[in-house]
């Protein structure tokens, strides 16, 4: 049973975001131009966001190798988005028109529509210019939940995934060094995701206030551990051995291990995660953020 809390702000957010989504409707099939072939002598990921940038290995690569890696990192990034958004769409669809949905269904329709469009952009890029998206290396485990826990974890995970992704999109959507198609995909994603982020934070806050006081200390610990682990696991997906292999780098599994613990890479992850961590700390969802392993 959820607590009675004031959802006026959430109601306003839902109304405003529905209006903005309607006013900015984009046709995903005609909005972008897809050349038959891509000139690979371009950046497809901002160099500063490439997973091994700043490591000794990065220093050994010439510009052609770096640009090649930037292409496969883009395919890896788009694959992460495809798998994350598929999970999101499945979860959102199952929450439409539920009795306890807090009046969010009108916005869930836009959310679903926009996430489907993003998957079209990302999927088309991976299919046209690479061998399709990289497969997801995850399996779903069955779990029993306390009242409200499943919804809270679902929307919290979505928030974590989207906040990290959006920082990449925001930077790359403005990066003139990128191939125009890569720049535009990132910009489009950011343009619509920024609305999802506003909704995500507000709804996670409402769910936390509704249920957290009723959860046992044991459940709270489990929920907090799950979110912390999810942040760590989300970041690990950005270090994909298949990306390194396709870019022609040898010993891709060792590269992944090296980059995950390299101080420059940890610093980048920490900086990108900072606004998210601040939100989780301020809301009380993760009170001990200094213990987080990112």
């Amino acid at each position: 049973m959820k607590a009675n809390i004031n959802t006026d702000k959430l109601d306003q957010v839902v109304k405003r975001l529905c209006r903005v989504s309607e006013d900015n409707y984009i046709n995903p099939f005609s909005h972008l131009e897809w050349p038959e072939e891509l000139d690979r002598n371009n950046w497809f990921t901002s160099p500063e966001l490439i997973s091994i940038e700043g490591t000794p290995l990065w220093d050994t690569l010439d510009e052609t190798q770096r640009k090649c890696l930037s292409f496969f990192e883009a395919v890896g990034f788009y694959s992460i988005n495809i798998h994350g958004e598929r999970m999101l769409i499945e979860g959102l669809a199952s929450r439409l028109y539920r009795k306890d949905e807090y009046g969010i269904t009108p916005y869930l329709h836009h959310f679903l529509d926009e996430e489907n469009k993003h998957m079209i952009y990302f999927g088309r890029f991976c299919s046209l210019y690479a061998n399709g998206p990289y497969p997801e290396k995850k399996i779903k485990f069955d779990q029993e939940y306390e009242d409200g826990e499943e919804d809270f974890l679902f929307f919290s995970k979505i928030m974590v995934f989207e906040e990290i992704v959006d920082l990449f999109n925001r930077k790359q959507g403005k990066d003139d060094r990128l191939h125009p198609l890569a720049k535009e995909i990132n910009w489009l994603h950011h343009f619509e995701e920024s609305r999802h982020l506003g909704f995500g934070r507000e709804f996670v806050k409402v769910l936390w206030q509704s249920y957290s006081a009723k959860w046992t200390s044991e459940s709270l610990k489990r929920i907090r551990d799950t979110i912390s682990s999810y942040i760590e696991a989300t970041w690990k997906e950005y270090y994909n051995p298949s990306v390194y292999r396709d870019a022609g780098l040898s010993d891709p599994f060792s590269i992944r291990k090296m980059a995950l613990k390299h101080p420059k890479c940890i610093k980048r992850r920490t900086e990108i995660s900072a606004p998210l961590i601040q939100f989780l700390s301020e809301t009380g969802i993760l009170p001990n953020t200094e213990e987080l392993s990112i």
Binding site: E136, K138, I139, F141, D225, S229, A233, P241, F253, R256
Partner: protein, 81 residues
């Protein structure tokens, strides 16, 4: 070959589990007993790929495919592809 991989799996699980144990058997449930958390499945899959030299196709797989070391060896090492 399988024995080397078996040993490497033992070491990987012991290094990555939070419990303070020094050994496990080939039949100890990996996730069910809490040795590894479900969120660590990606690390385990990538490790299996690394030591077996084969890509793991996760589509259609269930957590039971990684039940214990014996099951992993049977599913992902002693298979033809």
């Amino acid at each position: 070959m399988s024995n080397i991989i078996r040993k490497k799996l033992h070491v990987f699980i012991l290094e990555n589990c939070e419990s303070e144990i020094s050994s496990i058997s080939d039949n100890t449930p990996i996730f069910e007993s809490g040795l590894l958390k479900s969120i660590q499945i990606m690390d385990l899959i990538l490790f299996v790929e690394e030591i077996s030299g084969k890509e793991v196709d996760v589509e259609g797989l269930k957590p039971g495919s990684f039940k214990d070391i014996d099951t992993i060896i049977k599913n992902f090492v002693e298979t033809k592809n």
